[in-house]
């Protein structure tokens, strides 16, 4: 990864020097270990701030939706999921393809900082060093080495596009193949085989912890509406309580609003303070649009999103047709 970091820096520097871009949005080391923070580089000499490691989990595409970056030529560092989110925004006319230089990183999977921290509790990590497959942690009276692969984020384990499907340059030129054990599809099949009542019990149990903080919506790179349905009060469609009916209402509509757009980046699951795993819902969404319309989000900026288009021949087996 260090090698890739160097190539990434050189590439970004080159783009700045050639004035192909006005600014690079990437990651830099955060103030606490195992954390990175967004970084904006405008001068070639500052390029060494940019880092690339397994803590670069957040999605930077959101910045491109901000008015201050709308008419700038931006170079942006993206993983597979970020690239797909960017493509969805482009397909929806939110970001102009020609304004963005996509610097793609083949992603090896990001690590789950929350889990490492909670396992070490109450010890505090002061220094972290990450090598090819290990994480060395140092604190006040401890020192510990973890195997990186044991701490990969759940959403990265079930990732299907870790290499950016669309980019201007793929750093290193070599896609990475992931080989994590992941049982999301089996879990989904199991759940689908159950009765509606059992599924209802599953989801009401899973979501009963939801405190309606909307972190899942805020973290989503595709929830860019200026006014979200949950904030509307006139009329107010969704109750604001944590009554299970309101919670289910929220999650049904949230799922509906990201159907055909969700790129399974896992940001919603990662952001949830109650550790609610939303991945079965997001995987289901992928399957629904794939089965119905043969569509996968975030692969081509020129293909309109499935909810923004239609054909005369769309499947309609669900329509009531009495004999």
């Amino acid at each position: 990864m260090e090698k890739l970091e160097k190539i990434m820096q050189d590439t970004a520097k080159h783009f700045l020097q050639e004035q192909k871009v006005d600014l690079i949005i990437g990651y830099k080391q955060g103030t606490i270990p195992l954390r990175t923070t967004p970084c904006f580089v405008t001068k070639p000499e500052d390029i060494s701030q940019l880092v690339w490691n397994v803590c670069c989990d957040h999605d930077l595409t959101n910045f491109l939706l901000q008015p201050e970056y709308k008419d700038k030529k931006v170079g942006i560092i993206v993983k597979g999921c970020d690239a797909r989110a960017l493509v969805v925004c482009m397909a929806e006319g939110q970001i102009e393809r020609k304004m963005v230089t996509i610097i793609g990183m083949p992603c090896p999977g990001m690590i789950d900082r929350k889990r490492i921290e909670s396992e070490l509790e109450p010890k505090e990590i002061l220094v972290a060093e990450i090598t090819e497959d290990q994480i060395h942690l140092k604190g006040k009276d401890f020192e510990q080495t973890l195997q990186k692969d044991d701490y990969i984020q759940a959403s990265c384990k079930s990732c299907r596009y870790n290499n950016p499907p669309v980019c201007d340059v793929l750093i290193g030129g070599q896609p990475i193949e992931l080989s994590f054990n992941d049982d999301l599809d089996e879990k989904l099949a199991e759940l689908e085989a159950k009765s509606p009542d059992e599924r209802w019990t599953y989801f009401t149990t899973l979501l009963s912890d939801c405190i309606r903080c909307y972190a899942c919506r805020n973290a989503c790179p595709l929830c860019y509406c200026k006014e979200c349905f949950v904030d509307q009060t006139q009329p107010q469609w969704v109750g604001k309580t944590t009554n299970i009916s309101d919670i289910m209402f929220y999650h049904m509509i949230r799922a509906f609003h990201v159907a055909g757009r969700c790129v399974e980046c896992g940001a919603c699951t990662r952001a949830c303070p109650m550790n609610i795993d939303l991945r079965l819902i997001t995987r289901k969404l992928q399957n629904i649009v794939k089965d119905r319309y043969g569509f996968e989000a975030g692969l081509d900026p020129n293909v309109p999103p499935p909810m923004g288009t239609h054909t005369m021949e769309d499947p309609q087996e669900f329509i009531t047709e009495p004999e």
Binding site: Y202, T204, D246, M248, F249, I281, I288, V289, M312
Partner: protein, 150 residues
């Protein structure tokens, strides 16, 4: 629950009739329902009609909110594909409903609660049949409990 209350509830359940909220497009299904009435075709009295300008006007909020408010089932009926007064409102709606239904049923609402159909202004008989079928389906499912907000 006291014995008396329990008894009255059992009685209530025996005489229970589903309540179904129907969103009918002004240009076709609403007229179809009218025709069914004028033609004196029988259909179960379980539906309450909301007239909408087009099936594409029906926001998924309405449907989930209806379940939340205790309606046992919902029906949306619009013009046949190709016949929408606004050309493609029902085609947009078709994708919307397909996906909404998939999600809602995945999360545990029984198939049969959300229903969709195409009924033209000339299909009074079809309208009565659709309503019969939907009422039958919802009757089998029993009163809605899952989404109802207590």
């Amino acid at each position: 629950m006291t014995v008396a209350e329990e008894k009255s509830q059992i009685k209530e359940e025996k005489s229970w009739e589903p309540k179904i909220l129907a969103f009918l497009c002004n240009w076709c299904s609403y007229a179809g329902a009218d025709l069914a009435g004028i033609s004196r075709l029988q259909y179960p009295p379980n539906i309450r009609v909301v007239r909408v300008p087009c099936s594409g006007r029906v926001n998924p909020f309405y449907l989930i909110k209806a379940l939340q408010a205790g309606w046992d089932g919902v029906l949306v009926s619009g013009c046949h594909p190709g016949d929408c007064h606004y050309l493609s409102g029902n085609l947009v709606a078709r994708r919307r409903f397909a996906i909404l239904k998939d999600i809602v049923e995945f999360m545990g609402i029984s198939p049969g609660r959300l229903n969709f159909s195409w009924v033209s202004a000339a299909e009074g008989e079809k309208f009565s049949k659709v309503v019969k079928e939907v009422v039958e389906k919802v009757k089998k499912l029993g009163p809605i409990r899952k989404m109802v907000k207590e």
